[in-house]
């Protein structure tokens, strides 16, 4: 058993153990324990990875393990990570662990909740370590489908509708993706091995056909405009931990996949389509930001904000240079953390005030200082305040985007950059309405302060935001090293 497979095995074992436990408290503890071990393992892997790199191991992927699965179809169980995947693994572990803590108070079908949540986590971990398209796709779907139950059973509001819409759109996207994966398979000498495919040159006509399928297929999960509409409804109805995990990690499956599969494997087509998708992403950035301005439901605000931020990721990817890629990956991590904290806080607020309507709240800074302060900090991170992770990511993307003097590029870039103002507007609007101002509801004076598991959950995710914001170098180095191969690859096709 190699160390990466353990990442999948541990959650599976946790789930199996959970099946035999009926005490709710025990279920929570075991879930926390299992994912805690998972997190430690991830850190251990990170350490090992950096040690390997420091020792001069410059192969593209480390800790690889290649096991034949379906021999005749050339399907392998092939895992391995590079810096980007490692970063995503760390993100996943952190957010998942935080999610477990945040959900501590779920009483209805506790076991089932944790089982679904951990299965979701398994899918995500598996996805990020996969280097074989088949396993990757498999884990992708494993990650998506528990969402239905999680939202449908433990959600709020029009949860059935939201759950169905989300699942269908995402699975519809994965269906499109499937076609593209098959196309890649057949046009690159019948292999799912991404490393091998990358070495091969798919015929350009095939790339032209399959690139949009793959990109959009992943793009839907990444809330690429105009395929984002599952996201507001889905997030609004999902329980806290699920929103966290979904916006924080699952949506990154989309962006990561678009990058790793669509762009990495079909660089020529990526070049050709870049302007189109860049425009789409830029529109998404500004569109999401404007969409958030008029919302009154906190989760909707955050969902639209996610559309905007994820648009930025796609935008960065389509800028087709190393800086923007770094930014895009950083933004994945940054947005993952930020939005996880956001949703955690929203969950805490909702749990107390039983409303998510910003108009009904006010002056919470006075009543719930911990939650409010964290909210402000994360809000600031979201609007790209220096010293927090959002800034680092955005600046990389912007600088990258401006490395192309093409007029249309410039227009899109300026469009995307302008979002920083609109973002400020909606973030400050919420902060102003909800946290500041007079307390609008007398009953709010009695709200309980944040309890231990909420603090642990929120801080777990908040601290990396600050850490990345203050000292980005270690992370950018990690990412840029891995990007080297991809960039070389793309550079071969004229950009």
């Amino acid at each position: 058993m190699d160390i990466l497979s353990l990442l999948v095995v541990i959650p599976v074992i946790t789930v199996l153990v959970l099946f035999f436990i009926n005490d709710n408290q025990m279920v929570r503890i075991i879930s926390a324990l299992g994912i805690g071990i998972e997190t430690i393992l991830t850190l251990f892997i990170a350490k090992g990875f950096m040690a390997e790199r420091a020792a001069g191991n410059s192969s593209e992927f480390l800790f690889t393990r290649d096991t034949v699965w379906f021999e005749s179809l050339n399907i392998h169980y092939f895992v391995g990570i590079d810096g980007i995947a490692l970063a995503m693994l760390l993100l996943t572990a952190i957010v998942l662990l935080a999610g477990i803590f945040i959900s501590w108070n779920i009483e209805d079908l506790t076991k089932e909740f944790y089982v679904s949540l951990i299965i979701l986590g398994t899918g995500v971990f598996g996805f990020f370590i996969s280097l074989d398209l088949f396993t990757m796709f498999l884990f992708y779907e494993v990650a998506v489908i528990p969402m239905y139950l999680l939202i449908g059973i433990w959600g709020t509001g029009p949860k059935e509708y939201a759950a169905m819409k989300l699942t269908l759109m995402l699975m519809g996207a994965s269906a499109v993706l499937l076609v593209s994966i098959l196309g890649i398979y057949y046009y690159s000498g019948m292999t799912f091995n991404m490393q091998e495919i990358a070495q091969m040159e798919m015929p350009i006509h095939a790339q032209r056909f399959f690139f949009p399928l793959a990109f959009v297929g992943f793009g839907v999960l990444g809330a690429l405009f105009p395929f984002h509409t599952w996201s507001p409804d889905g997030h609004a109805s999902a329980p806290t931990a699920v929103s966290m995990l979904h916006a924080g990690v699952l949506m990154k499956l989309g962006t990561y996949g678009a990058f790793r599969v669509a762009m990495y494997l079909m660089p020529q087509a990526a070049n050709e389509y870049s302007t189109f998708f860049m425009g789409l992403a830029a529109i998404g950035v500004i569109y999401g930001a404007f969409g958030a301005i008029r919302q009154t439901d906190l989760k909707y605000i955050n969902a639209y904000s996610s559309v905007s931020h994820l648009g930025l990721i796609f935008f960065g990817m389509m800028a087709l240079n190393k800086t923007a890629y770094t930014g895009a990956v950083l933004q994945m991590i940054s947005h993952g953390l930020m939005t996880a904290v956001f949703f955690a806080l929203i969950g805490m607020l909702y749990g107390r005030t039983h409303t998510r309507d910003v108009r009904k709240m006010g002056g919470l800074l006075k009543i719930l200082p911990f939650i409010a302060v964290v909210y402000v900090i994360i809000g600031m991170a979201s609007l790209g305040l220096p010293g927090l992770s959002g800034f680092v990511a955005e600046m990389n993307i912007f600088v990258g985007a401006f490395q192309n003097p093409d007029f249309i590029h410039r227009v899109f870039s300026v469009l995307a950059v302008s979002a920083i103002v609109v973002t400020a507007v909606y973030i400050l609007r919420v902060v102003g309405m909800m946290l500041m101002g007079p307390v609008k509801n007398e009953a709010f004076y009695k709200l309980p302060k944040a309890v231990w598991y909420e603090r642990v959950g929120a801080l777990l995710v908040l601290l990396p935001v600050i850490a990345i914001g203050l000292a980005p170098m270690w992370l950018t180095t990690l990412i840029q090293e891995s990007l080297g191969h991809i960039v070389e690859h793309l550079a071969a096709y004229g950009h």
Binding site: E71, S72, V142, G152, L168, L178
Partner: protein
């Protein structure tokens, strides 16, 4: 010289059928519940014996042929029947043994199964036709088995009339093929059967008979009505075993005599696949009755199988058999649950399933796995089955068909999730009460679940089927 061992499967099954007749006579005036145990036990033995390897060869001057592939197709069907019988255990003991019709049930089931054996093992059209009829006609009796239920009889009439038309049309086709090639033997037909208008007509007319059994659009209309009206075990049998057998037969016959008619049947299959997937899904969307719902779902599933047939090579054949095997398990899991609940409570509507998870979590989980497998959600087996079918189709460049297929997978997911919604999300004022199923039923469900969980992930199973299809 005939090596009669080649017909081992058929002989053993025939023996069981005869034994049942004997048992029926011996048990006159006694409680016939014992028949359930005898029949199930004997069939399990038969299935186990069936796993023993069998030589390849032909008999009766080519009328009967067998090889590893055919033999294992039978084994796959056997396993399905075993699961079905176990699931029907309670039904047979509680429901039919009181009405004095339990032996006949097994008799008819086994007869039709024997018909299917002959159908897929046939070496000429006569045997094929007889196998087909043997596999169809007694089923009509089974469909109309609930004598006091109008719906059952109505379903029986619909089935037998439609079967009559379909076999007539199919025979018309066979007669043309015979007219062209001068023989009923597949091996001889293959030599004389060259592309011609009449040949195309013959082949298509012939295929329509099988399309009827697989319930491909536009030959599927009987399916939902019959599935809904028939007793659940029979529905289950029809949708699983009977369909799989027809799929195998279609694939085999096309491989045997369709070589020169690729340009004829491929477009036909292509459009039938499109129609079948789409129509099946569209109709399934709004069904409220679980059996009817599963009927349309199985129509749609049949459409996916066509993708494998369409690719017309080893990979395609493998994926067809592989998918069918997985489909058997998946559908049996869902039908098993429907059956148990239908027997215990008589409730078959989707709304009745509201809140099932809270009262009967295990049943709901089995159902969930079955539905996910049907929907093609990993890591359960259905995902692998569908994926390989799509792979097989894509291998021949049918990307648009694959796109239509995956869109349909999404639509199908919608209605499968409706059931999941009912079971897990909804709550009910009058939920299905918590109850315990009998042990054989549990084993039946468990076997199906095991299949769903492991057939996909366990790649040697795929390789095994691949080895079988080397020589086609």
């Amino acid at each position: 010289m005939n090596n009669y061992l080649l017909m081992r499967d058929e002989f053993v099954l025939l023996g069981i059928i005869l034994l049942l007749l004997v048992a029926e006579i011996m048990l006159i005036g006694k409680n016939r519940k014992a028949v359930v145990g005898i029949a199930t036990g004997l069939f399990i033995v038969h299935t186990l014996v069936g796993f023993l390897p069998l030589a390849e060869g032909t008999m009766f001057g080519g009328s009967f042929r067998t090889n590893h592939l055919l033999h294992n197709m039978k084994s796959i069907m056997n396993v399905g029947v075993v699961i079905l019988l176990l699931q029907t255990w309670t039904w047979a003991r509680e429901e039919w043994s009181h009405k004095g019709r339990v032996t006949e049930f097994y008799f008819l089931i086994f007869s039709t199964l024997l018909g299917m054996y002959y159908m897929i093992s046939s070496g000429d059209f006569l045997m094929f036709f007889l196998g087909l009829e043997l596999a169809s006609l007694p089923v009509a009796g089974l469909v109309a088995y609930d004598l006091m239920k109008m719906r059952s009889a109505e379903a029986g009439v619909k089935f037998i009339l439609m079967a009559g038309v379909s076999s007539a049309v199919s025979l018309f086709g066979i007669s043309m093929i015979y007219g062209i090639s001068g023989s009923l033997y597949f091996s001889e037909i293959a030599q004389n059967f060259h592309l011609s208008g009449l040949g195309a007509l013959g082949l298509l007319f012939f295929m329509s008979g099988l399309a009827f059994k697989i319930s491909l659009v536009p030959f599927h209309f009987w399916t939902p009505d019959v599935y809904e009206g028939a007793p659940v075990p029979v529905t289950s049998y029809l949708s699983v075993i009977s369909k799989a057998a027809a799929v195998f037969a279609l694939a085999i016959v096309l491989f045997l005599i369709g070589r020169e008619f690729v340009s004829v049947w491929k477009p036909a299959i292509y459009w039938m696949a499109v129609l079948t997937m789409t129509v099946g899904n569209l109709f399934a969307l709004r069904q409220k009755n679980m059996k009817r719902f599963l009927a349309f779902s199985s129509v749609a599933q049949a459409g996916f199988i066509l993708l494998g047939i369409l690719s017309y090579d080893q990979m395609g054949m493998t994926s067809v058999v592989y998918f069918s095997a997985i489909y058997i398990f998946s559908n049996l899991a869902t039908f098993g649950v429907v059956q148990v609940i239908s027997l215990k409570t008589g409730r078959e509507q989707m709304d009745d399933y509201n809140g099932l998870y809270r009262t009967n979590p295990k049943l709901a989980l089995v159902m969930l796995l079955g539905l996910f497998s049907l929907a093609g959600i990993p890591p359960v087996a259905g995902f692998f089955g569908k994926f390989f079918l799509f792979m097989a189709a894509a291998a021949h460049g049918y990307y648009w068909l694959v796109i239509i297929g995956v869109i349909n997978v999404t639509i199908s997911l919608y209605y499968y999730l409706l059931v999941v919604r009912a079971m897990f999300l909804r709550k009910s004022d009058t939920p299905i009460e918590s109850f315990q199923a009998e042990i054989p039923v549990k084993i039946g469900l468990a076997l199906a679940v095991v299949g769903i969980l492991f057939l996909g992930l366990y790649s040697p199973f795929y390789d095994f089927i691949l080895n079988l299809t080397t020589n086609i």
